[in-house]
């Protein structure tokens, strides 16, 4: 768990405001409904900070990321980079601003074109933006712990950890301020995971990078994150400093998530209380009324069906103000 504060906690690199992404789906017979994959998400990442985004598969993490990167069109809400709303910018300018956010993909096997050499893969973003020099590619290779000679090989000759290093080098090519890391180590062996995490932490210290770190492995999130946001069915249900959220989870979903994470100490593991959820994720095209979690919540009450809980306590929206990292949760039982 990190207790250090980010280097320059001013003007957020990334601000997401009430973002919603909907997909049309076919209902029974000829009816059409919309699937709300992301349903009013707000988050912000300050320079040099790591925000861990946690949630089970299908909760909308990837859709959120795709919307931030401009691969999905949001149905409402805004994405701002460096405080500038991308929606208001002309295409060329928007592309330029968006380049300040770069992505490291989950699967290091499908994220590298098998036909190209590693040098060419890393050179691609530079070529697109007319900044290519061989020296720049070599510098990027060395920055992630590879050698210039390795650039002449194809991805097929590299191990998973090395491939992920190539993916990181490609993401660093355009000198971003924020990296979106979509489960960057979940496809790797545990021993290699630690090396990649260490590399990411070194790069953060060296370059002042901010990370939006998406994962379902809580121990990894705990190790690397300053703050954590927990997502369930397209909404953020709890957010706050990593230390607070991990030691004192408030939302019943977060509690269940934390109790599902394995504990290394068998004595502790035996004594702690497990919260086991029943049932499957609800159908995203047909969400329960009120709190989306109430169908699986061990503490749900009748009132939970009536109101959609919002994140409380409220935090003043800051513009050029040090990050307020309040511990918020969206549950009627916690905030009646």
């Amino acid at each position: 768990m990190r207790t250090d504060t980010p280097a320059a906690p001013f003007l957020d690199v990334l601000t997401v405001q009430d973002l919603a992404v909907e997909f049309p789906v076919r209902g029974p017979l000829f009816s059409r409904t919309t699937l709300k994959a992301v349903n009013g998400v707000s988050l912000h990442v300050a320079p040099g900070e790591t925000l861990g985004l946690v949630g089970e598969s299908g909760c909308g993490k990837s859709t959120l990321v795709r919307a931030i990167l401009g691969l999905n069109k949001p149905s409402s809400g805004a994405v701002a980079v460096g405080g500038r709303n991308l929606a208001g910018l002309l295409n060329g300018r928007r592309r330029q601003e968006r380049a300040r956010i770069q992505m490291v993909f989950q699967d290091p096997y499908s994220s590298l074109d098998p036909r190209l050499t590693v040098h060419e893969i890393i050179a691609e973003p530079l070529r697109i933006n007319g900044q290519y020099t061989a020296a720049a590619v070599t510098a990027l290779l060395e920055q992630v712990g590879l050698t210039a000679a390795m650039g002449q090989r194809k991805p097929g000759e590299f191990s998973g950890g090395q491939r992920q290093r190539v993916g990181i080098a490609r993401a660093l090519a355009l000198k971003p301020e924020l990296l979106i890391l979509d489960e960057p180590v979940s496809a790797l062996d545990v021993s290699v995971q630690a090396q990649v995490i260490n590399l990411l932490q070194d790069l953060q210290a060296e370059l002042g990078l901010a990370y939006l770190f998406i994962a379902h492995d809580l121990s990894v999130v705990r190790q690397i994150s300053h703050r954590v946001a927990v997502m369930y069915m397209g909404r953020i249900v709890e957010t706050g400093p990593a230390a607070d959220v991990f030691t004192n989870p408030q939302h019943p979903y977060t509690k269940a998530l934390m109790s599902a994470a394995p504990v290394a100490d068998p004595d502790k593991a035996a004594s702690r209380q497990r919260v086991v959820l029943t049932g499957d994720l609800p159908d995203a095209a047909n969400l329960p009324s009120g709190c989306a979690f109430r169908t699986r919540c061990p503490q749900a009450e009748a009132s939970c069906a009536a109101v959609v809980p919002s994140l409380l306590p409220p935090v003043p929206t800051q513009v050029d103000f040090p990050v307020v990292s309040a511990h918020q949760s969206a549950c009627l039982l916690v905030h009646p």
Binding site: L69, G70, L71, R95, Q96, R98, A99, Q102, M103, F105, Q106, D107, Y109, S110, S111, L112, D113, P114, R115, I121, E124, P125, I128, N129, G145, L146, T147, M150, R153, P155, G156, E157, F158, S159, G160, G161, Q162, R165, R170, A173, L174, S191, V192, Q195
Partner: protein, 313 residues
Amino acid sequence: MTQQLLPAGTQVPATAPTDPDIQGTPATPTPAKRKGRGTSPAFVIGSAMLGLVLLLAAVVPLLPGFDPFGQDLSAAMRAPFTDPDHLLGTDSLGRDLLSRLSLASAVTLGIAFAVVILNAVIGTTLGMAAGYFGGRLDSAVTTLADVNLAMPVVLLLIAVAAVTGPSATVTIVTLGLTYWVGYARVSRNLARSLRHRDFVLAPLTQGGGHGWVIRRHILPNVFSQTLIIGATDIATIVLIESSLEYLGLGVQPPVPSWGSMIFEGQKYLGSNPWLAILPGLAMFLTVAGAQFVSQRFTAEGTTGALLRKGRTA
């Protein structure tokens, strides 16, 4: 991961590093990763067959005495190897059969190549666009392909030829616009499967447009597949073109083609069967040779790695 690339039965060296990532050293390159290529007997025989036909088309016109049109009724209907002036004999008008066969090969192969290239360009472009962009464009192209398959090409060609008069151009354009469905299907499916791969998404998040992605990542991966279909299609088109020539649609006399030579020759099947057998033999060498050669691509294809899923690619 690299071990999956080894051919069955290869011993993995016992000293293989257990964790190559620690020092950042690359995984050891696998020795003897692929078998020597081009050594299969089918490929050698196929190349020889195709080579013979190409030699016929390209070299014979350079020989002295090349004259596919000159008639000499006094020397008509000679059998092969009976007249030193006409190595393969003469036809009913006394025209040199070797010269005519050579010109016919050039004509038929020329038409076939033109048709295949036209097909490949149309099919790959439509298929790639449909698979990559999806949506309405995809439905439109798929429907067009289905309609195309249902179209009786020979009847269409007869109809077109009735209006414009038969010619090589009409054959090329009509066949070129109707046999692209195979290319479209394959490139559509490949583009569809590639579209959501992360290596295609990455440049889109880094300022690249769809044109960049198609040029750099979709087309090169689709192109090798197009080559494979093209190699097999040459044979099909040669057969179709020859049957059309046999029916009198296509290049007009006195310019010969294999199909029209067989048509003329069959009248004399009893007296001089060579008139029909020789162009038939050239056709057989081309079709069988193309099939043998293309086997190499389909067996251990150039993009086999891609098709074997991304993991070992």
